[in-house]
């Protein structure tokens, strides 16, 4: 990312207040599999792993119902550390044009740091993992429950087999 855009995003999203901070200090998720993070009630439609990406990125598309109207895009980024994950969050924000995306705070916010646009976009980091859930179909659905479920899976994995930074 270009330095000026990074500076802009760090100011816009007050990155100093959250960058590098995690409730799961020293612990990392390693070797994540998409099967573990399958959203309940959704069927895998497409999976892409970008081999050229610096960070392991698993991008997936999930369908629900008979028509292709309801589609969810779930992207998982397995970063080297929580700090790297927060860089990845900024990278994700750098590819979103809206000026209305806001940081989520409070008990309902998933992960260590989270951003959303209403209930139709969720971006959060937990330990070294970045999760992006958004709509990809013409029938727009809330992604909040899916985001919370994915956070629960990540927490479970961190407790069961935590790796070390």
């Amino acid at each position: 990312m270009q330095t000026e855009q990074m500076d802009f995003l760090e100011r816009r999203y007050k990155a100093r207040s959250w960058h590098g901070r995690t409730k799961h200090a020293g612990r990392v998720l390693k070797g994540i599999s998409l099967e573990d993070f399958a959203p309940a009630g959704w069927t895998l439609s497409r999976k892409t792993v970008d081999e050229r990406a610096k960070t392991k990125a698993v991008r997936s598309l999930w369908a629900r119902g008979a028509s292709s109207g309801e589609l969810l895009a779930v992207d998982l980024f397995e970063c080297a550390s929580a700090k790297a994950a927060h860089d990845q969050v900024l990278e994700a924000l750098a590819n979103m044009q809206s000026s209305e995306i806001e940081m989520r705070t409070g008990a309902g916010a998933p992960g260590d740091v989270a951003f959303s646009l209403g209930s139709t976009l969720s971006l959060f980091a937990i330990a070294n993992l970045v999760v992006l859930v958004r709509n990809a179909g013409s029938s727009v659905v809330s992604v909040e429950k899916v985001a919370r479920d994915l956070e629960t899976v990540a927490v479970k994995h961190l407790k069961r087999r935590p790796g070390r930074e």
């Binding site: 802009f8 816009r12 000026s99 646009l117 709509n135």
Partner: protein, 370 residues
Amino acid sequence: MIFIEAIKFNGNPTSVSHDAVNIRQNAAHFVAVPEWRRFISVNPEDSRVAYAIAPTLGKSLYIDVALGSTDPGVAFVEVRVEHDVKARPVNFINGESGFVTFELLAPPTRHGHVGIWDVEWHWEYRSGPHHPWRHFTTTRHRIYVVLDAPTLPWKQAPYNSANTQLPWTDVLDYACRWAEGATSKDMAAALVTQDVYALGPTLITYDCPGGGGSHYSWGSFDCSAFIERLKGGVGNGIYVNCSDCATFVSTFANVLGCDLWQSRMGWGFALNQLLAIGSNTWQTACGWSGFSYHEVAWEGACTAGNDVYDACLQVDGDADPTAAPHVALLPQDLRFGNPGDLLYRDRLATPAGRTSCNPQPATRQRRVVI
């Protein structure tokens, strides 16, 4: 009986000036040479070839043809395709000619514009100048004509099946149709821009639910998914943003020989009312107050003095882009400009936002295709 065993259109992969451009079908499949093979190639799409107009201008184009004869008594014939392939003598040794070079008489590059031609060649032979020509076989080929050698992300070397950045015929199928008839690079880029914008709202639409996020161009260009979407499949879904549209336009235009970049402007600026791709409502994008950034297909150094092509949105093209009434203008070959110029920048950003809507040429890139 005389027959054709194989035809090579791209006999010299190091040059595009006397024969075809190096191509592949898509990320997964390579186009092997010879492009036409006996018993394998039946329909035009079984034998795909691309030629570039500029490097071949005023030059002869050649193909290499391997012929065979089942008659051991035949040692010498003349072979041609009337109007298309110049007659020349062919010698057979033990029923095989090996590859023999023929000159094309009227290749589709002579039209001087972008297009796709499905050609049917009726091959003839004769035993000597005083004998009549006899038809012996028909071959069919799909010929793509582009303006110039494709530019990045498309590459011509190395020419092997592992190089996924060789121009894809899956992309040429759309790009040549969208820009059909284009005689200049600006015209080709403009036509591609129009056709990408026209994909909305049926196939793609602006990503309002996801905050205008990239679905096809984050990192690399997921061209395979976009092609799938164009063919009516799911692809990466219906939503796109400016980076996606900039990437569609520049990648599809560059395969035709244009020379566009994907480059950003920013950071954080308020918008005039516009028509985002897939929408028929004049409003700031999705009703948001502004863009964190915007990205377009851009010429040259991607500065205020260079022209942009924006398939993501239509701006107000009248004398006052800050207020209704609106006249829809799809930015094509439109200079970015400085505040007060009434060019692209003024039409996109509000008067207050224009000073934050600056070209960011350090971001210019051509995303690799996957």
